[in-house]
Amino acid sequence: MKKRLVLFTGILLILTMIVTGCFSPTVKAGDENAGSTKKKILRANNGSEPGSLDPALAQGTHESWVLENVFEGLMTFDENGKLVEGMAESYEVSEDGTTYIFILRNGITWTNGDPITAEDFEYSWKRALAPETAGNYASILYYIRGAKSYNAGEGSADDVLVTALDKKTLEVTLETPIAYFLELTAFYTYFPVNKNVAEKNPNWAKDPATYVSNGPFKLVEWKHNDKIVLEKNKNYYNARKIKLDGIDLDILEDQNTAWQKYRGGEYDLLVDVPASVINQLKQESNPELEIGLQIGTYYYNINPNVQPFNNPKVRKGLSIAIDRKTIVEQVTQGGQIPAVGIIPPGMEDENGDDFRKSVGDLIKYDTEEAKKLFDEGLAEEGMTIEKFNDSNFVILYNTAESQKKIAQAIQEMWRELFGIKIGLENVDFQTKLNREQSGDYQVSRSGWMVDFMDPVAFLDLWCSDSAFNDAKYNNPKYDELIKEAKSTNDQNVRMAAMKEAEIILMEAMPIIPIYFYTQPYTVKSNVSGIFKVPIRYPVITYADLNE
């Protein structure tokens, strides 16, 4: 009797689940917009929960994608991806390139109705630099004179040379003339916050109810680890250019689930597409797939303090022995570009040409030359293949299937060509960073993405005094060239120095570039106006949904 009862209740329960699940009056997220209101809501996935939506504390793409839509800096990107005046109506640069005067637009307001003033900017930048704010990205403000010493607790806020001359005029003095400062003012750490609001309520950025911003959209809902809802800001000075009524961003970490949701029509755009899917979409030339440019390089560090890796011939031999085309086509499959130098394509030189193209290919796959260089180098170090193999060298990488596959491919390429044995070791990324810093590795995988479009953002890394120079490259000539590139805004001089520096670097090969990152994303065919600015996530601000 009782057994039957248990069975019966069980079946009943399952039935209830199915029935309530299927016939409950709630509608799917996607249908909400299909109703009579016909609101244009773009639906996408933000990937991870933002750590903070305060521009001074934000530290990555999970924050910046939201911030770039709810805030706007002095400069911004227009609907064609061109850098144009944003909050600033105009600007002037002094002859020596170190002083900028920005004049703000008339009638611009915060989402709470307050006027936006030059003081807001002065306050925001100093706030982002204050040591007690402990902004993770404060270093991007270091170009401003006095900024670094204030952030390091050595100077005072008054010594930071950003000054509101009056309500509409902002004066900024830089440490050195930098060619890309205007672009930096479009970066999220440079976004203004409302001085009155932030001073009165330090927790303003934690709750949509108290959240005040100045961009094309405003934050209306933030369910942690669940979703973020943005709504068009009708008071935005350029509101007529904004076609969307709102943006719904899911916070869903799993790539595959997100892909299923995109495929099922629950998203209009998907940025983090699984690699296997990209490959499939590419093969069927699916028009929804876009391979966006991303300014970043994936490379291997080589420890120069370990014999025989101290020998440039060994390093170069190892580098040109890698068949990068096979790696991007067969292993990574995400549309990456084989690396032919350290600077990825997309950056302009003094003539407006692509920096990468004008320097040319500095790495050419050549197994014969590789073998010759490697054997010579090994002999110069008094080593044999046997001794190399007995040394138990490893490629160190952070635990991830994608990293492992690349390391395996390279391990095999080296084994086949040189007959060397090199092991694989995976650790979590924190441990890897730790071991790189302490020099406890032979070969380690690394990568670098930049925040502004200038080759120096890469080349600076291998200056002997750079804190991030894990490959411990040290060449006074190289240091000199980078210093030159950083001290003037004469593009002819700068670019010539940087081109030479890249050639020198690739001659010494302290690191082995493998491929240039790309950012594949998929967009439904009824969505227009989404485009990619190299250092940003796809820009959705000007998107439109068509019938």
Binding site: K2, M17, A29, N225, I251, R263, A467
Partner: protein, 310 residues
């Protein structure tokens, strides 16, 4: 009984203190720091500002004492990776979500687990036994991420009424709770089966049969009641595991629970969150264990919690 509970509570406090101490030592022993970023390295002085902001520049003993003091007040502090929520807020937001899923999964496994086990035992080496065996093997051996992906692929994308992922209403809980229930369901059904087989051969069942009692009465009143004891003993850990969420399942289905904090906090070296979820989990575990021990005495009158506590 109350004396016993009081003793257990005292013991719990000591246990939690030991857990805090071990966690503190371990999390400080692993390399890395909460501010490291995979794609971007931060300059030294910014790192120092961050260390200062979160009190990590203080000596370890001082940090340890601060932790202890705050935890005594149930204040787990600020998360080092989120400027938006404190650890307390994260737990109080995530736990109800994970608990709802866990409760549904518990219900499913408690209904179907014993049922399958009993059926398997009664039809030993016959078709029902094999079917229940197959279900159990799938439950134990198919990992959650596979089961979850499979359900999304073949159920959620086929039926409009079942969402692919996310959190909203009851519909959103169906697939994740089934996925979550598979493992305990399988364990329970196997335990139930072996328990039943052992009990079915006992003399007192023969006696019951010879007394002419109906088959169902014998099974329910005499057999199941005895066979269920091993299940009760694993329920403590099962319940606390289910209630505190699963990293894999929450990630796959995009569920804002606390399951993902357990892995992510360690991965990010978010020290305060590591401590918060560890202590929280310990408390949940200790409470369920206590409840299970009490439940024992109710099911089996032979078991006494205290010596001579008749």
């Amino acid at each position: 009984m109350s004396k016993y509970i009081l003793k257990r509570l005292l013991l719990s406090i000591i246990t939690i203190w030991a857990i805090i101490t071990i966690t503190f030592v371990l999390m400080n022993a692993i390399p890395g720091n909460p501010f490291a970023n995979e794609n971007r390295k931060i300059p030294e002085n910014i790192y120092e500002n961050l260390m200062k902001k979160y009190g990590l520049d203080k000596p370890k003993t001082e940090q340890y004492i601060t932790y202890l003091k705050n935890i005594a007040k149930f204040d787990f502090g600020k998360s080092m990776r989120s400027d938006t929520e404190t650890v307390n807020e994260m737990i109080s937001r995530g736990f109800p979500v994970s608990a709802v899923l866990g409760f549904e999964a518990l219900l499913i496994s408690l209904i179907f687990g014993p049922t399958l086990g009993v059926i398997a035992a009664l039809y030993r080496n016959k078709a029902p036994d094999y079917i229940s065996m197959i279900i159990s093997i799938i439950g134990v051996s198919v990992p959650g991420f596979l089961m979850g992906t499979f359900l999304i692929q073949f159920v959620a994308t086929k039926f409009d009424c079942i969402p692919i992922g996310g959190w909203g209403g009851f519909r959103h809980t169906i697939l994740p709770s089934i996925t979550l229930a598979m493992m305990p369901l399988a364990q329970i059904s196997r335990l139930m089966r072996s328990g039943m087989l052992e009990v079915l051969n006992q003399d007192y069942l023969k006696t019951a049969r010879s007394k002419g009692l109906a088959g169902s009465v014998i099974i329910m009143k005499h057999a199941v009641r005895n066979a269920i004891l091993p299940i009760v003993s694993i329920l403590g850990t099962t319940i606390s595991n289910l209630l505190t969420g699963s990293f894999v399942i929450e990630k796959i289905f995009g569920i804002p629970g606390i399951g993902m904090f357990f892995i992510n906090s360690v991965f990010n070296r978010d020290y305060t969150l590591i401590m918060g979820v560890t202590v929280f989990y310990s408390i949940v575990l200790i409470i369920t264990m206590l409840l299970v021990d009490i439940a024992y005495t109710l099911i089996d009158p032979r078991i006494r919690l205290t010596k001579g506590g008749h």
